[in-house]
Symmetry: C4
Subunit: 120 residues, 4 copies
């Protein structure tokens, strides 16, 4: 069984600067691996005004999901309040969805989008 | 007429722990069956740290929609505040969209995404 | 130039019962027709527990967009607070996106999804 | 490497009239160019009741993202409070996502959708 695609792109990345209430503003890449094999991800982060940080390694076990906060991608050191974008490449087909929680102003707001699958 | 796909994946599932105001935080899988036949769904729920719960049965009659709250999938016992993911397989092509209402902080927030169609 | 698809499906339709503040809760089908020809739409509305209302006619002129509130589809008489779904068929390829504004609780919330294109 | 598509469509464009709090209501087209070549974009804006404004030029450098506020597309002079739609054509394949922040009522709301890729 091979479900999904091996390369995914997310143009709208942004971790809001501020938070309010009990929830912190954040962004997460959610990955689903329905296969019987480990998915070895290589995540690259693109910016508006500097070189991308490429091939950060993350593993998703077989038949598992992982919701990865982008602030936890230490090597990329994504600053808050700065536009960025993501490319996720996987050793096996997976599905990738990217969601943001914004609590800049009182009361939270959510947005989400399935990432764009590059067929190959 | 055969509209949609038979397998759909949703990586970002999450039922918020808390609610406020008149609306309860929840998540729903919305299915549209435009065919003249009953769609027999088998829904599987994936987690970060345990085995998936597979093949929960749900029926969508011909030419009907059903908006299924994920908390109503009794066999899965999806806990609140825990990341999960969904796989929906159907006996006939359908379309699947997944939406979340989050009322953790005063005032509600919504997000939605068309699920990812696995072509076959 | 032929951009988009001729049939689009939206499983998650719902017009919230209540509103607050200056903005009324509503849902809209947004259509873009980049072609040089008039797009003659036939919109069908599906429910959970009754027969669909089919083939409501709407026109989008050449090189125009139209944002159609679903409550304006008089023939369907979509009740507030009831799950529904949409099928949009067009005489020429178009693109369809469906968005909801929910102002049930103070402060509004938005969600949107590109409809699902049925290739044909 | 050729990732994405050369033509993208967004039916639901709308810049809210009002704002509240620290964040201004706005809409942005987010573009990711993973290629080694400059992406020369031509952006066209469609309306409900007048001719489109076509081929506004924007450049995205190689291996960069750009988040472009639609209010910055001077030639289009998109009014606030008016439905519009977008067509983005690029000299090399890119990925396009469109997001809105609405702060009409206290507390902000977000929505986003991957644009629709016209395969060619």
């Amino acid at each position: 069984m091979s479900e999904g695609a091996r390369v995914w792109l997310v143009p709208d990345g942004y971790i809001p600067k501020e938070s309010s209430g009990s929830q912190e503003s954040h962004e997460a890449i959610c990955v689903l691996n329905t296969s019987g094999e480990e998915a070895r991800l290589r995540i690259s982060v693109y910016f508006e005004d500097r070189e991308p940080v490429k091939d950060i390694g993350v593993v998703v076990p077989p038949e598992r999901t992982r919701h990865i906060r982008t602030e936890s991608l230490d090597e990329a050191e994504i600053p808050r309040g700065v536009p960025y974008a993501l490319r996720v490449e996987s050793s096996v087909p997976v599905v990738v969805q990217c969601s943001r929680m914004d609590t800049t102003q009182a009361a939270l707001s959510l947005m989400t989008a399935m990432a764009y699958p590059v067929e190959r």
